[in-house]
């Protein structure tokens, strides 16, 4: 049995999407910049994809710039704004739970003449609008806050921050990589100026993303060259990938409500099941409406995350963890630490992210196996000794 519960890391490509892409790899392979019929058929499909993407976020097609993924879109949004507005100001606000694509980019700017304010979050992993308000300075040029967090699924008060940014005339960037296709997004209602999305999290291909750039918002390109994407992003367009992304957006729009219902049910079953079956477990992130329908995140005390992952993997179950050991860094998840977890507990966290294809049976299988794994690792753990001794006493 192979059970994939890591959809926040990446998703399989929908077969319908993959089949469509194939056509553009082997038959309609023209370069969309070319004058001839091969070029024109590619160009037409490219523009249709742009409309499909725009539709899902409430934008116009002209406001969609395709990139090589969410990371590049985040970089384009942040560096592009900083370069465009550097004469206006040097202050950038972001949150402490952003994805590395935002945090590292902000820090890069921080080392190159910009000022950074990093807003904290509460114990649910949600940022307070009040804190953003307090951080605003006369020279603030950019606020970058994610829509939903990739580790704990916490949904941020984007519309309210958007209102605030608008009142102060500050460019507002939102990383919506994890929320796209899971909860509704409307860039107009949310007052967003720049919005990052990525294809491979919504059953589209890897290596494709987009940045929504509100009409009138100025941005300096990150990649220079042939002037594709209205000079905002040069490079021969990845037409098959973009067309796949467009189709994936269309499908996501059609299936969002059903997907959310299905996944919320599995999510709650899994979250409750773990708490019922395993002692010394902490659920990370908010409950109910403030949480993505597909995210489960728990800390399992006295054991380490990578060991849990490896053990699950041997049973065919794919998950992810906030353990430092899975990231190659020394510290565990910056998100869990920001939510107030101590290192020791953060190391033992697991994220299960659900997808369209997951079933109740798969969750049952996981709920049957996980307690055994935890038991085995705890018996091996020197940290668990105290608990055993307490129990024996």
């Amino acid at each position: 049995m192979r059970v994939y519960l890591d959809h926040s890391a990446t998703t399989p490509v929908d077969p319908e999407v993959a089949a469509l892409m194939m056509t553009y790899y082997t038959e309609k392979y023209g370069n969309p910049s070319s004058v001839h019929s091969f070029g024109r058929e590619a160009k037409q499909a490219l523009e249709q994809a742009r409309s499909q993407v725009a539709e899902l976020i409430g934008a116009t097609p002209q406001e969609v710039t395709f990139t090589s993924g969410g990371t590049e879109a985040d970089n384009l949004a942040i560096i592009g704004t900083a370069e465009a507005l550097r004469k206006k100001g040097k202050h950038i606000i972001t949150s402490c739970i952003e994805h590395h694509a935002v945090l590292e980019t902000c820090e890069y700017l921080g080392k190159n003449g910009f000022d950074l304010t990093v807003i904290p979050v509460n114990e649910e992993g949600i940022l307070l609008v009040e804190d953003v308000k307090k951080a605003i300075r006369p020279d603030t040029i950019l606020i970058s806050v994610m829509h939903a967090n990739n580790e704990v699924g916490s949904i941020q008060p984007i519309a309210e921050i958007g209102k605030l940014a608008k009142e102060h005339g500050i460019t507002f960037h939102v990383d919506a990589v994890q929320s796209l296709g899971k909860i509704p997004i409307n860039v107009v209602e949310m007052n967003v100026d720049l919005l990052t999305i990525s294809s491979h999290k919504i059953y589209g291909p890897k290596g494709v993303g987009a940045l929504y750039i509100r009409k009138g918002v100025r941005i300096v390109p990150l990649v220079h060259g042939g002037g594709q994407e209205k000079r905002r992003r040069s490079g021969t367009e990845n037409t098959p990938g973009i067309i796949g992304f467009g189709k994936a957006c269309e499908l996501a729009g059609q299936r969002m409500a059903d997907d959310a219902k299905h996944q919320t049910k599995l999510r709650d079953k899994l979250m409750n099941g773990i708490q019922e079956r395993i002692e010394y477990v902490k659920v990370n992130g908010p409950l109910g409406e403030k949480r993505l329908p597909n995210n489960v995140n728990v800390s399992i005390r006295y054991v380490e995350g990578e060991s849990l992952l490896l053990s699950l993997d041997m049973l065919g179950i794919a998950a992810s963890s906030g353990s430092a050991c899975t990231s190659g860094s020394l510290d565990p998840s910056h998100v869990l630490l920001a939510m107030g977890l101590i290192h020791e507990i953060a190391h033992g966290s697991l994220r299960f992210s659900l997808g369209r294809q997951n079933t109740e049976e798969e969750i049952d299988y996981l709920l049957e196996q996980l307690p055994k794994i935890v038991e085995r690792l705890r018996m091996m753990s020197p940290l668990y000794d105290q608990v055993i001794h307490m129990k024996q006493a």
Partner: protein, 125 residues
């Protein structure tokens, strides 16, 4: 990522547990870093008669702990002292680069346990 040997030692770790009658115990790492290894030795004369470990940590931490216990069982203290972290990693067929520093401490734990044994012996004397 991990070699087959690492996965074998992670899945079926040798010598897990505590030794009631340990006369040398060594612990390295801390929970903050995500790795703690504790090694229990039962030494008679110069010989490591029994060894057990408990580890909180990633796959590499568990596997190196298990490996080192296999490597020293029945060995003399002097033989045990020349075992390095690198030698443990090598015995496992290598470790990923990122694991070489933070999770490859089992030999350190062993050496600490021997040190603990020697300290205790000195006190007895």
């Amino acid at each position: 990522m991990y070699t087959e040997k690492v996965m074998d030692h992670f899945t079926n770790p040798r010598n897990v547990g505590e030794l009631e009658n340990a006369n040398g115990v060594g612990e390295v790492g801390n929970a903050k870093c995500g790795d703690i290894m504790r090694i229990y030795l039962d030494i008679e004369g110069d010989i490591i008669k029994d060894v057990k470990f408990k580890t909180f940590g990633c796959g590499a931490a568990v596997a190196t702990s298990s490996m080192v216990t296999e490597m020293v069982k029945g060995k003399t203290i002097d033989e045990a002292l020349v075992i390095s972290n690198a030698a443990v990693a090598e015995a496992l067929g290598g470790l990923p680069e990122t694991k070489m520093h933070c999770s490859n401490l089992a030999a350190d734990a062993l050496h600490k346990a021997i040190e603990d044994y020697r300290n205790k012996q000195q006190k007895k004397e």
